[in-house]
């Protein structure tokens, strides 16, 4: 019954007028930005990050989380109507969503997407509320060495699993950790890499970094690209949105399987909504009696990935909130938002800040309901959003980023720092280096260093003592396995590519 009491407390917090307003604002802005092709949750949260400095931590997190799962909803709209994913997690939705739109069934696809997103999100929230307290209680016995091992696993997983080149992902994580070491060392008080600059004593700000890398960096690389704007506007009409009986019958099982797959991959470090959506799609195609329908507008092909990515959005909060270990760059930003407000996430968070934790969980549900209510009548608005030329959008985004950066400390130098990180982000894109692991390394860097130094003191400088701990040892072994696996599969992929290239030249 403790759970019911907690849920009631959460509802109470989430339903307070101001939190409700920020939840609404978050999901609205998230959908709005998610519809814009190319701007995913990371860019959206980065750009709106400074606003949340003015809110109390619960409201701040409710709003940021709303932006996060709102973009996933909005991202699928662009996938279906334009065949351009609004966010990477909805890329799979293009495969069957766009063919449906070409067959004149865009309205049905949008409707089913919205319902599937809600179902998947709800499933993820149930998993989140059931498992978080258990994991947090278990984690109370973790020592610094265990945290060090878990964070290392998170960093290695995030930099290797989703990236074609493990070397590039790992290099970016390490670079992020190095950037994070700029400033006063928390243990010795020595100023590191400040080169005598007073303003660097506090290190780089997470908001400047995120806004630069993902906000300005995104604009720099997308301005001047060709864009398609051919949309069937009639898809937004109500009568075109009613699914057939057959559609509904076909969607049950894919929805359930998608929710389960999404919940699983969302909670794992390094995977998250994009991989969850991809896996769910692959599983549906495998179990289907008619796999040939996939890619030609099969309803299962949008229901499964859409439930999966929304379920994953919710379960991604499990490691972030219970262990204080984010599994992705987006979750690292959530963690950053908490730390800006002086809250150290970890297993004690649920007990010490029950209103924050359960309020956040219940706000997810309210947010998902708002999205359900908001999306169906407003699809017409989102469709029109897609028609706004990018040449009007990007100056607006740029101006908002500038004001946001300036408003944090009323310091024009922060704006220039955002520009610096923006140029870095653009450079990374050109160089084919992933920017997300950089941010994750930046957030986790100081935490992992502290835990590592503490655990080495406890182990009296003997690393084998750390490996002998049951949890730390197992996790470190897993990390090593993951490293070996990713190196082996990267080498295999290169061989295959090389052979294909030679075959192409020979033939």
């Amino acid at each position: 019954m403790e759970l019911l009491g907690n849920l009631a407390l959460g509802l109470n917090t989430a339903l307070s007028p101001s939190n409700l307003l920020y939840c609404f604002l978050g999901v609205f802005l998230g959908t709005f930005v998610g519809v814009i092709p190319g701007i995913g949750p990371l860019a959206a949260i980065s750009m709106l990050f400074p606003i949340t400095f003015y809110l109390d931590p619960t409201a701040a997190l409710i709003m940021l989380a709303g932006i996060y799962y709102g973009t996933t909803y909005g991202g699928s709209t662009a996938s279906i109507l334009l065949n351009i994913p609004g966010a990477t997690s909805s890329a799979v939705t293009c495969l069957d969503g766009y063919p449906m739109a070409q067959q004149g069934r865009a309205g049905v696809a949008l409707m089913m997407t919205t319902v599937a997103s809600f179902a998947g999100g709800s499933f993820g929230i149930i998993i989140l509320s059931l498992f978080s307290p258990i994991i947090a209680e278990y984690a109370l016995s973790f020592g610094p060495a265990d945290y060090f091992a878990l964070m290392l696993l998170g960093l290695v997983a995030a930099s290797t699993i989703a990236n074609a080149s493990p070397a590039k992902g790992l290099a970016m994580v390490v670079l992020g950790m190095l950037v994070a070491s700029v400033g006063t060392d928390s243990q010795s008080g020595v100023a590191r890499f400040t080169f005598g600059s007073m303003s660097l004593l506090d290190g780089f700000g997470i908001s400047a970094m995120a806004m630069g890398l993902f906000g300005i960096g995104e604009i720099l690389s997308s301005v001047g690209n060709a864009r398609s704007t051919a949309i069937d506007k009639s898809s937004a009409k109500w009568r075109n949105m009613v699914p057939t009986r057959d559609d509904v019958r076909r969607s049950w099982m894919p929805g359930l399987r998608g929710s389960a797959i999404g919940s699983f991959f969302g909670a794992l470090p390094g995977t998250g909504p994009s991989i969850a959506a991809f896996m769910a799609y692959a599983v549906e195609k495998r179990v289907s009696d008619t796999p040939e329908r996939f890619g030609k507008g099969a309803i299962e092909g949008i229901v499964a990935p859409e439930t999966a990515n929304n379920a994953a959005d919710q379960t991604a909060f499990i490691p972030t909130l219970t262990l204080g270990i984010p599994g992705s760059a987006t979750m690292a930003l959530m963690l950053g938002a908490l730390m800006v407000h002086g809250i150290q996430p970890g297993p004690t968070l649920i007990v010490q800040q029950p209103a924050l934790f359960w309020g956040l969980v219940m706000s997810f549900w309210i947010g998902n309901i708002i999205l359900l209510v908001l999306n169906l009548p407003l699809i017409g608005l989102w469709v029109r959003m897609l028609l706004v030329p990018y040449q009007y959008l990007y100056p607006a985004i740029l101006v908002f980023v500038c004001i946001g950066a300036y408003s944090v400390r009323a310091n024009p130098a922060d704006v220039l720092m955002v520009l610096g990180f923006g140029v870095l982000g653009y450079g990374l894109r050109i160089a084919g280096l992933p920017a997300a692991p950089l941010l994750l390394g930046f957030v986790l860097g100081p935490l992992i260093e502290t835990q590592f130094r503490r655990s080495m003191v406890l182990a009296q400088g003997d690393f084998t003592t750390i490996m002998a701990r049951p949890i730390a040892g197992t996790v470190l072994a897993l990390t090593a396995l993951l490293l070996v696996w990713s190196v082996v599969s990267a080498i295999r992929r290169r061989r295959r590519l090389a052979q294909a290239a030679q075959g192409g030249l020979g033939g």
């Binding site: 290099a171 301005v223 990007y394 101006v399 500038c402 408003s407 704006v415 590592f452 400088g461």
Partner: protein
Amino acid sequence: MLDRDYRDIVAGVALALAGGAAALYAVSNYALGTFTRMGPGMVPAWLGGALAVFGVIIALQGMAQRGEPVTIRTRVLLMLGASIVCFALMIDRFGMVPAVFIAALLASCAEAPIRPLRSLILAGVLSAVTWAIFIAGLRLTIPSFDWPY
């Protein structure tokens, strides 16, 4: 097609140099300490070393594979850069509305074709909208207009 992936080679070498420099700087300026009691230099030194190693690996991989030429859009970079710099220089001296106006005007010129009238209207609308949101709505303590001279 290029016979080597110069993009990866340049990126790898740059990362390796950055990592090496960070490691050297940490070793020569900060105390390393022992493994039991690590000084402030220990972790950055190892991180710099790791970055150098990964950079070398990326560069070596680039040597072994074919690549595509890279295009850098200097015009976009310059116009958007100028826009942000102008905002930073103007916000304290002239206030938010002029800073937004100029920044939006410059930014809208990054993409061809440039349409002066539309850019002016866009800059005007954005100035009004940002004023309404940030100063009238959120009540940020940024002056709307200022004239230092």
